[in-house]
Symmetry: C2
Subunit: 357 residues, 2 copies
Amino acid sequence: MSDLQFKDLVEPVAIDKKTALRVTVLGGGSFGTAMANTAVRNGCDTMIWIRDEAIAKEINATHVNKRYLPDFKLEDGLRAVSNLEQAVCDRDIILVAIPSHSFRDVLRQIKPFISAQAVISLTKGVEAKTFSFMSDIIREELPEVPYGVLSGPNLAKEIVAGQPAGTVIASDSELVRYAVQQALHSALFRVFGSDDVHGVELGGALKNIYAVAMGMAAAYKVGENTKSMILTRALAEMSRFAVKLGANPLTFLGLSGVGDLFATCNSPLSRNYQVGFALGSGKTLDQATKELGQTAEGINTIVQVNTRAKELDVYMPITQALYEVIFEGAPPLNIAVSLMKNGHRSDVEFVLPHHEV
Amino acid sequence: MSDLQFKDLVEPVAIDKKTALRVTVLGGGSFGTAMANTAVRNGCDTMIWIRDEAIAKEINATHVNKRYLPDFKLEDGLRAVSNLEQAVCDRDIILVAIPSHSFRDVLRQIKPFISAQAVISLTKGVEAKTFSFMSDIIREELPEVPYGVLSGPNLAKEIVAGQPAGTVIASDSELVRYAVQQALHSALFRVFGSDDVHGVELGGALKNIYAVAMGMAAAYKVGENTKSMILTRALAEMSRFAVKLGANPLTFLGLSGVGDLFATCNSPLSRNYQVGFALGSGKTLDQATKELGQTAEGINTIVQVNTRAKELDVYMPITQALYEVIFEGAPPLNIAVSLMKNGHRSDVEFVLPHHEV
């Protein structure tokens, strides 16, 4: 096999030919750092805001994010700052890579510094209690701002290693989509466009549920037929839920839908998959959580989505079955069989409605 | 882990409560045999037609299909016959599991015996030269007959082993869909309905192209991000092609679309995947074919679809790139990079048209 790498074949960006967009990433986690690094490579004037001043200084001195991407040398042009006003004032694009539980709080802090910047969420998830998506939070906290969400199968370590990847920028604004593509698109990181903001962010928010289901199925040593059925039934209930919130079901055919779901369900090392495997092996949630050392994100999503699906009257049998197994002690195998016996009979209800099957 | 199996939890069908549909499977390959066995379990009066009389007799004597499912004991109620008239006359459903190159010929042979039977294709593929799908051949050869196609991620060995699986019956006729569900649906084999015949059969016919691409990518040790991107770009071009033929793009969200593609691309032992891996490792098609001992189906499909896509003016960059690598000696890695650099910028063009990105 050739030792040639993808990145050896890609020409560097000719900086002077690019618009020098001013880009700031808020948050120094692995994905935020990877996107900031991508923007520098694309010729943008790029800052990354990190709350802890000592870490910001360390990144500026060493060009390494020791905690999240310890093995990777960042571009020299990347500046880390810990002052929020400096990070946000007079910039073109603000990429928000802050965990969902602090997302709203950080938006409130930057509000005084926002004039014409576009604000883009890089965060996958749902705000606890309010069941708000990140785009909802942006609209609530910064109602005048042009905004978008970025989501896709984007493991940060693979991106910084130069493995080809793609993502989706979703926004109602053509200008916002274009600016984010200018800032981040390259031959190794393709940025596709969409105008279905809710559809795109729902893919990233809901997929962890099905990683739990896939881990549970793996404990029963199911074959490829069964895995494929879980994947497509997951898509059926995700898109059903999303359509109820006004999204387009076809969005789930793309990178932020089935793409992210495929990557997540194919990652046996993820916490969600592992907690599912433990549950399928007869362990309780407490036992599984103890073994993993922390709660898997998918468990919280199951609780939230199960409640919300009931409120919205959306049929989500896999989510409900997982809830019953995890919180009500139902036996996983019986639940799986009852899933097989009952339920809808249309393959894709947006093609053939259930009542017409 | 529990030793309990899915099949231990499923109650046997109460035969007297079921309509005793008369079902015949034409063809004694592994999938046809699995479907015949499923129909017997579902209480149907079931025959399997096998051209070779000796093999039919052997199956009746031993209840084993020695060539295709040697490790599996078939239901006692399954009758194998080698007389085509006996197999087809006075039956309700004819399931045709004949390879694509003989499919038309067998339909011509059964034509004299067809009165009101429904004819269902179980065959995935495209007829060489004519680029006809199996439903096209049914319409051409048996224009009056009610028909349908069955397609999904359905490895025969997993089905006979009792692993949960799902499939899709596609037909314009509600009665045909209902009859096939009666004949085959069970708690371990779910039969979902669709009325998008071309969309459903295209999934099964085109997926092998992308198994070649996935094998080639594996030779370059790509990560999950890249695999997910290949999967979704494959869906983009499959659905684009299908829509040109009048299918519904949403069909690709289901079992026969992404479900079958996922199973195929996750099967590193398949010939298509292996030929792709060999090509990505710098071997020629001749070398790869010699190593495998036979031609991979995906290679033929690439040739056919590449030609047809040009005629129909459908943009299929992955198929075209594979064609150039395999038949025109283009270097795979450079082709991959040019795929990344160029092309469409909408994630799902049926959500946001390319010219609006």
